[in-house]
Amino acid sequence: MNEVLKKYPSATREDLLDILHDIQESDPHHFLSDEVLTDVASHLGMDLADIKGTASFYSMFSFSPRGKHVIRICDSPPCQLLGATTVLQKLIEVLGVAVGETTSDGLFTLETSSCLGMCGVAPAMMIDNETYGNLTPSRIVEIIERIRREDETS
């Protein structure tokens, strides 16, 4: 049984989203495998199709392995107007992957996101649970290089 499920001994279907977030967060590849979903289904007494149906409704859940860090760059209009496309191009260049792909070292997955609620500091992105605003192509280089360095030393 998945370790996370032990934290939810008397869970019901209302706890499903919390459990899935918790599992995805704790997974080194930040995704929900079929094995995990099957465990959750039997723990909650839910159907497999019901679990998959609910989870797949939300874009924040992934069903394929992702990198150690997940980058979500906002693609909604306020960010677009203030240069999100240029910033995204820089990310694609620096990381060497397309949107939806993971770098070959397994460090980053690049995704786009609908509004992050940070229009005041557009263009914006999130890396894991950290937010970044007022992005420019040069800041992208800085941020990615810093995370790469931190990762080497850790």
Binding site: D34, L37, T38, D50, K52, G53, S56, F57
Partner: protein, 232 residues
């Protein structure tokens, strides 16, 4: 059971509290077009074909319960227009090419188009290229013909109790799935009963070995089965 008085197409009728507008209309012999509704299954208001006018507000009659003094209009120019547009959107979203379909002449979607006088589709077709799963030994699920009515999901859970079917994804990405989205032939909980085939209103879930226009279905079998169980 408490009786409630409503006015439907100008006629005053009384019906038990808890009845839906659709149920009352049926009892009164007033036809309302339906697609995802099937007697014997729960109602989810997925297809929006059964819309009626309640005091100027458009609601789905299958999921709206009657209330004292309710004024219901089941047919008007506005309703006809909305129903036809809705039907056109359903047609445009997938590849409903009747002449090539095993369910041609035995299709509830096609029947509705005839009944509502849908001559052509004004919105552009999406023409998606979707999958066809023939891994089950007896049946096929062709996503290109699916209208996401959810009858297969409900009949499998509510009547057969096998809970194989679900709907995954959202919006235009939504698809019916078996278990976690695996091939139907690998779905361990499937009992091969074929109820999903019988209730599917289009040529999406069909028996293998049928040529164009050869697939006849009997959704009323499920209605009868459900009635018998309730009377036992």
């Amino acid at each position: 059971m408490k009786e409630i008085l409503i006015r439907i197409d100008g006629k005053e009728v009384s019906a038990p509290a808890g009845s839906t507008i659709l149920e009352v209309a049926k009892q009164q012999g007033i036809p309302i077009p339906t697609l995802c509704h099937l007697d014997g299954l729960s109602d989810i208001g997925a297809c929006r074909m059964c819309i009626v006018d309640v005091g100027g507000k458009i609601v789905t009659s299958c999921t709206t319960k009657i209330a004292e003094g309710m004024e219901v209009i089941t047919n008007s120019d506005r309703l006809a227009e909305l129903r036809r547009l809705n039907l056109e959107l359903i047609f445009a979203e997938r590849n409903h090419v009747c002449s090539m379909c095993v369910s041609n002449n035995h299709c509830e979607l096609q029947d509705l188009a005839c009944d509502l006088g849908m001559q052509h589709v004004e919105v552009p077709y999406a023409y998606p290229r979707l999958s066809l799963d023939a891994s089950h030994p007896k049946f096929i699920i062709d996503q290109n013909r699916c209208i996401l009515c959810g009858r297969c999901v409900r009949v499998c859970a509510e009547v057969e109790g096998a809970h194989v079917w679900g709907i995954a994804g959202r919006g235009s990405e939504a698809r019916v799935i078996t278990e976690l989205g695996i091939d139907w032939g690998d779905a361990e909980m499937c009992t091969d009963c074929g109820k999903c085939v019988q209730v599917c209103p289009t040529g999406a879930i069909v028996e293998k070995g049928k040529a164009a226009a050869e697939m006849e279905k009997h959704p009323e079998l499920v209605t009868t089965l459900k009635e018998r169980r309730e009377n036992d």
